[in-house]
C-alpha cells in the first residue's frame, strides 16, 4: 500500500506540482511519460512519489512521447486508470496517438503545459500545442492558475471515465506562467480526492479474458464515417457530464467551475475573450477600464472542447464589440479561436462586432496595459458602430504595425 502523504490545508504549489499531486491522489494505475520542458516537473515529481512509496501504480519510462501515449493507450485498453504529461514538441510527436486514443474511446488524462512550437525553437508558453489538439477528439479543459490545474486534473478522470463519455481528457495550463509560479493551492485530503474521483470501472478491457476484444480495427469508406460521427456525438454529449462533475466538485471543494467563465459581463459593453493566464490579466484590465467608466468584461472558455458554442453565445450576444485573443500563430488565417467565437456570434440576433488579436507568441509578456489598449479599441468600435481597426491585429509585436482585413459592415 502507498504511504500516506501529509498535506496542509493550504499549500504553496506551482502548476506542475499541483498537477502531479492530483495524479498521485487519483491513484493512477499507469503513468507512461517522456518529460519535456515546461511539464518536466509533473513527471519528475510523480517519479519521486513512486520512488518514495507514495504510489502503488506503474511508472513507465519510454523512449519518446509517441511511445508514452502509445503505452497509455495500451494500459487504458487493458482497463487501467492512465495519465501522462507533455508540452510542445512532445505534444506534436504524440498527435498521431492522440487520435488513436480518442477513436478507441480511452479515458486517458493528459496534462498539457502549453508551450510554443518550433521553429524557431522556444520553450515558453503559448497555445500552439493546445490548438494542435483541437480536432483530436479529446475533451480539452483550460486552467488559468495552479489551483485550477489541480482541480481540473481531478475532474478530468471523473469526466473521461464516465461510461456515457469514455473519452480522453487534456488539462491545459500555461507554460511557466502557471507551471512554474508558486501560488496558494488548497488541496483536498487524499481520502476526499479519491472519494471524489472514484474507482475506474473499465469498459471493453483487454484483461477481461472471458470477452476478448479487438482494438484498432480498420474501417474503410463503408464504416469509418459512422464511427467518427458516433465519436463526435459522444464528445458533444459530454456536456451534461462535465457540468455534473463540476457541480459535484463544488460540493467537496467549494470551488465552482463552469464551461464558460464570465467576469463582469452583466452590463458589459465591450469584452475580451481569452484563454489561460491571459484571463486573469484581462480581468485586472477590465476593472481599470471600469474605473474610467468603460463597461468592460471578460469571457473565458473553461472547456475548450467540446467547444461551448451555446454558452459563448449566451455570454456575448448583448455586447457591442468583442476582442478574441489568439495566443498561437494563425498560419495564414484568422485566429482559430476568433473563427469559432465569431461563428457562434454570427447566429445571434445582435451580432456584436468581433476583432482578432494575435498576442503573446513564444511567451511574449501580455501586460495589463496591453489588455487595456485592446479594450480601448473595442470601445472605439462600439461608439462608431463598426470595426475601426484592421480585423486581425498583433498585440505586443515590434516593428511596423501589422494587421489584416477591413470590415465591410458600416
Amino acid at each position: 500500500m502507498a504511504e500516506k502523504f501529509d498535506l496542509q490545508e493550504r499549500e504553496v504549489w506551482d502548476g506542475n506540482y499541483a498537477a502531479s499531486q492530483a495524479m498521485r491522489q487519483a491513484k493512477v494505475d499507469v503513468m507512461a511519460a517522456y518529460p519535456i520542458t515546461p511539464s518536466t516537473p509533473i513527471v519528475e515529481n510523480y517519479g519521486a512519489y513512486v520512488a518514495n512509496g507514495y504510489v502503488d501504480g506503474e511508472f513507465v519510462m519510454v523512449e519518446s512521447e509517441h511511445a508514452a501515449m502509445s503505452a497509455c493507450v495500451g494500459a487504458s485498453a487493458a482497463g487501467g486508470r492512465v495519465a501522462t504529461a507533455t508540452s510542445s514538441q512532445g505534444f506534436a510527436l504524440m498527435v498521431e496517438v492522440l487520435y488513436q486514443a480518442s477513436g478507441m474511446r480511452l479515458p486517458i488524462v493528459l496534462n498539457v503545459v502549453n508551450r510554443a512550437l518550433a521553429s524557431p525553437l522556444n520553450v515558453r508558453g503559448d497555445h500552439a500545442d493546445m490548438y494542435l489538439g483541437r480536432d483530436s477528439g479529446w475533451i480539452q479543459m483550460d486552467a488559468f492558475n495552479s489551483q485550477e490545474a489541480y482541480d481540473l486534473a481531478l475532474c478530468a478522470f471523473k469526466i473521461g471515465e464516465n461510461h456515457s463519455v469514455r473519452l480522453p481528457v487534456m488539462v491545459h495550463q500555461d507554460g511557466f506562467i502557471t507551471s512554474h509560479t508558486a501560488q496558494n493551492v488548497y488541496p483536498l485530503t487524499d481520502e476526499a480526492a479519491y472519494n471524489f474521483v472514484g474507482e475506474i470501472d473499465p469498459v471493453d478491457d483487454m484483461l477481461d479474458f472471458s470477452r476478448p476484444v479487438t482494438y484498432g480495427a480498420q474501417t474503410e469508406e463503408d464504416w469509418h464515417f459512422e464511427h467518427k460521427a458516433k465519436q463526435h456525438k459522444a464528445l458533444m454529449d459530454s456536456v451534461p457530464v462535465i457540468e455534473d462533475v463540476f457541480a459535484e466538485f463544488e460540493k467537496v471543494s467549494g470551488r465552482k467551475y463552469k464551461r464558460v467563465e464570465s467576469y463582469m459581463m452583466e452590463d458589459a459593453e465591450v469584452a475580451i475573450v481569452a484563454l489561460g493566464t491571459t484571463v486573469e490579466t484581462s480581468r485586472v484590465a477590465a476593472l481599470r477600464m471600469r474605473e474610467q467608466g468603460i463597461k468592460a468584461g471578460v469571457v473565458a472558455p473553461r472547456v475548450f472542447r467540446p467547444f461551448p458554442f451555446d454558452e459563448i453565445r449566451d455570454a456575448l450576444e448583448n455586447v457591442k464589440s468583442v476582442a478574441v485573443l489568439d495566443r498561437s500563430s494563425p498560419g495564414g488565417a484568422m485566429g482559430a479561436f476568433y473563427n469559432e467565437v465569431s461563428a457562434a456570434l454570427y447566429t445571434t440576433e445582435n451580432r456584436p462586432l468581433v476583432t482578432n488579436y494575435i498576442y503573446g507568441l513564444g511567451g511574449r509578456d501580455f501586460a495589463v496595459k496591453d489588455a487595456m489598449d485592446i479594450f480601448a479599441d473595442q470601445k472605439a468600435n462600439a461608439d462608431a458602430g463598426h470595426i475601426t481597426t484592421d480585423i486581425q491585429q498583433f498585440s505586443g509585436l515590434r516593428g511596423p504595425k501589422l494587421g489584416f482585413f477591413k470590415t465591410k459592415r458600416g
Binding site: R105, D204, P212, T214, Y215, A217, A234
Partner: protein, 151 residues
C-alpha cells in the same frame, strides 16, 4: 480428397469481407470500433478447437477472403509425413491439423501465398499450387512422381 468445409462450423466464411449490404448506422456501431471476438463467455476458448468456438460476426472466421486468391495449394494426404512444417509457417492459420495430423486447407482464409508448398520437405511435395478453378480431383490426378536421385 479434401472436404472444402473441413473442420468448419456453420459460420466459417459465410460472408464476403467487403460486402456492403444493409450496413448499420452511426447509432449502432460499437463504441471505439472495439470488436468482441466471441459470443458469450469465452474464458475456456483457448482449449477449444476452431469448430467448437462461438465466434462472433466480427471475427474474421466468419468472413471469407477466398476471392483474394488466384492460385490455391492442394494437399495430397498420401505423400504427407505430418511433419507440421506447413502448419507452423502458414501466416493465415489456414492449415487444418488435428492430433498432429495434417488434414487439409481452410479455403475460406487461405490467400494462396505458397509458403506451405515452399516449406514442405517431402518428395514429391505433399502440397502443390494449382489454378484456383482447377478441381481437387483433377489436381490430385496430375501429382508428379518421386524425383530419383541423380547418380
Amino acid at each position: 480428397m479434401q472436404d472444402l468445409k473441413l473442420c468448419a462450423q456453420d459460420k466459417r466464411g459465410i460472408h464476403e469481407l467487403e460486402a456492403g449490404k444493409d450496413l448499420i448506422g452511426w447509432d449502432e456501431v460499437t463504441q471505439g470500433s472495439v470488436l468482441p471476438s466471441f459470443e458469450g463467455d469465452a474464458s475456456n476458448v483457448a482449449h477449444l478447437k476452431q469448430e467448437e468456438r462461438c465466434y462472433s460476426d466480427f471475427n474474421s472466421y466468419t468472413a471469407t477472403v477466398a476471392s483474394w486468391r488466384v492460385k490455391k495449394p492442394v494437399f495430397n494426404i498420401d505423400v504427407c509425413i505430418d511433419c507440421q512444417n506447413c502448419w507452423v509457417w502458414c501466416p493465415d492459420t489456414s492449415i487444418i491439423s488435428r492430433d498432429k495430423q495434417m488434414l487439409g486447407i481452410d479455403y475460406d482464409h487461405c490467400k494462396g501465398c505458397e509458403v506451405c508448398v515452399e516449406v514442405c520437405p517431402t518428395n514429391p511435395k505433399s502440397l502443390l499450387m494449382f489454378a484456383e478453378q482447377e478441381d481437387l480431383e483433377t489436381a490430385l490426378s496430375q501429382w508428379p512422381e518421386k524425383k530419383k536421385k541423380e547418380k
